[in-house]
Amino acid sequence: MRKRILELAHKAGSNGAHLGGSLSLVEILDALYSQNLNHNPYDMNRDRIILSKGHGALALYCILEMKGIISKEYAETFETNGTALFAHAKRDVAKGIEFSGGSLSLGLSFAVGVALACRSNSLNNHIYVILGDGECDEGLVWESVMSASHYGLDNMTLIVDCNGLQSDGFSKDIMNTDSLESKFSAFGCTVLSVNGHSERDITKALTAEHNGRPKVLVAYTLKGKGVSFLENKQSSHHLVLNDEQYKIAIMEVEND
């Protein structure tokens, strides 16, 4: 999947791509899409996967392609003129995309509404929301978490891709979102810390008890994971991958 992310980013050429935050998401998405979830877009009972950190869209497109939900040709329209697959995923349920991301924190608030609706309709499904740790700077995240917990939404799981970096640098320097576990816990959620690059850890946490509350996985990851010159680098947030860098990157992820 990392290879495909790099391929599409390279194809995007000078338009650039959000590589760092897509590469940190790989195992999270792999683990999530390996669960026995209902992806049938025409079934009300489908599980909803909402990418609130919309700039992770490239990783989402790749997992959707790998799972056969979108075609190879469709995935390759990434960042071409007139495409539906641009830097921030746009809602298209038939194509497995539940939410139009881009403006951080909006996915979570929307997801709380979806979770309320699904419960109200007595649906047998689950709502997964993927957030970034930088995104947790946004006030709306906390309004939303408070409400998810208030309504006892145990049909929702939040996964925070905690890569420790945001656009301007390390989160601990920009706006410290440290101890996310205690923050989510104080807001009334069931919280688990996981190694965000261990599919086994993530899978185990995904199946853990909710205890009548929304569940939060704080998944520790590396931004730019798998590519030495991107790993844990601020510059990996959004970049143009030149031919030389692309060659090295592909070699590294293939040898991993």
């Binding site: 909006l106 608030s109 929307f110 709380v112 509404g113 979770a115 609706a117 109200s120 409400s147």
Partner: protein
């Protein structure tokens, strides 16, 4: 459709008529969910909450989340109605309304209560004189601004049947003046001619329409005959109604709102592209924050009493005729 009772509605005000009567009458006809950000008592939602506790969500003082939850519910097929103070639902949640309702096409009805100067001594933080500007700038939004309580019920029922997101701007208080004594047809996007006249055309919106009508009466003493048109739909604007003013000697817009961006601006945009139209006098809040006072004080300071409207029109009209 709720039985039309102009006096009964007027007693309840716009918000009370919608939520205390029309909502209750219509609640079985639509897959409704009502959400409020700690404003349900003020809005008159008590009866709905008691009757349908499972279809009501109070999200607390969190207008952004109010729109997020509403959008999520709409995406699953519910018909959510989000209720908050006009100033906060349109300004604090502007981006949420743009992304979730405009861009993502979630059909939520946003009801802004206490718009304009309704909150008098609460001060400028609670006045809502930019909501028309903001809401009309969002693609796909329909913006309704009813003239009295009966018209508010009509607007609400039209919104329930409308395919698209809607903002309903509620102004005036209890015992607000009646503009529509009898039942009438309310169609989104079709302005209503309330009074005919050969000299000028007045376009007005919201409960200040009543003052426009009174001003038109006063103008007759000066030999000025005014047509008065209720623009209950600020977006989409009724272009035919605007064009119908081309034979007037003057166009006047009246709004309890900033003249920058609201009804006056909408009309000016429409006439500017047409060309050969009469000149325009925009009455309303002249792009400023207010000195605080009671409703009559605020209306007087912004020159929106019938007497002051008449005075400004007479001045302008006599200048054109020279």
């Amino acid at each position: 459709m709720t039985k039309y009772n102009a006096r009964g509605f007027a007693r309840l005000g716009q918000s009370g008529s919608i939520f205390g009567m029309s909502l209750i009458e219509n609640m079985d006809n639509y897959p409704l969910k009502v959400l409020s950000s700690d404003m349900s008592v003020v809005a008159g939602l008590d009866r709905f909450k008691r009757t349908r506790p499972d279809d009501f969500y109070n999200v607390g003082i969190a207008e952004q989340n109010l729109i997020g939850l509403s959008a999520g519910l709409a995406s699953e097929g519910f018909r959510p109605i989000a209720v908050a103070q006009a100033a906060f639902i349109t300004m604090r949640s502007f981006e949420q309304i743009r992304q979730y309702l405009g861009y993502m096409k979630n059909n939520v009805i946003c009801v802004g209560i206490n718009s304009g100067f309704a909150l008098t001594f609460f001060g400028n933080t609670h006045y809502s004189i930019e909501d028309l500007t903001l809401m009309r700038s969002i693609p796909r939004m329909t913006v309704l601004s009813p003239a009295d309580a009966g018209s508010a019920v009509k607007a609400f029922e039209a919104a329930l049947n409308h395919d698209g997101p809607v903002y309903i701007r509620l102004t005036g208080g209890l015992l607000s003046p009646i503009v529509y004594k009898d039942d009438f047809d309310f169609t989104i996007g079709e302005a209503i001619l309330l009074k005919d006249g050969s000299d000028i055309t007045i376009f007005a919106t919201g409960t200040i329409v009543a003052n426009a009508l009174k001003a038109a009466e006063l103008l007759m003493e000066y030999g000025i005959y005014a047509r008065v048109i209720d623009i209950h739909t600020v977006k989409p604007l009724d272009k035919d109604a605007v064009m119908s003013s081309k034979h007037s000697k003057l166009i006047v817009t009246i709004e309890e709102h900033n003249t920058l961006g609201g009804l006056g601006t909408a009309i000016s945009e429409a006439i500017a592209v047409t060309g050969n139209m009469p000149s325009l006098l925009k009455l309303g809040v002249q792009d400023k924050f207010m000195e605080v006072g009671d409703y009559n004080y605020l209306i007087e300071q912004s020159r929106l009493t019938p007497e002051l409207i008449k005075e400004d029109i007479v001045n302008k009209f006599s200048n054109i005729n020279i």
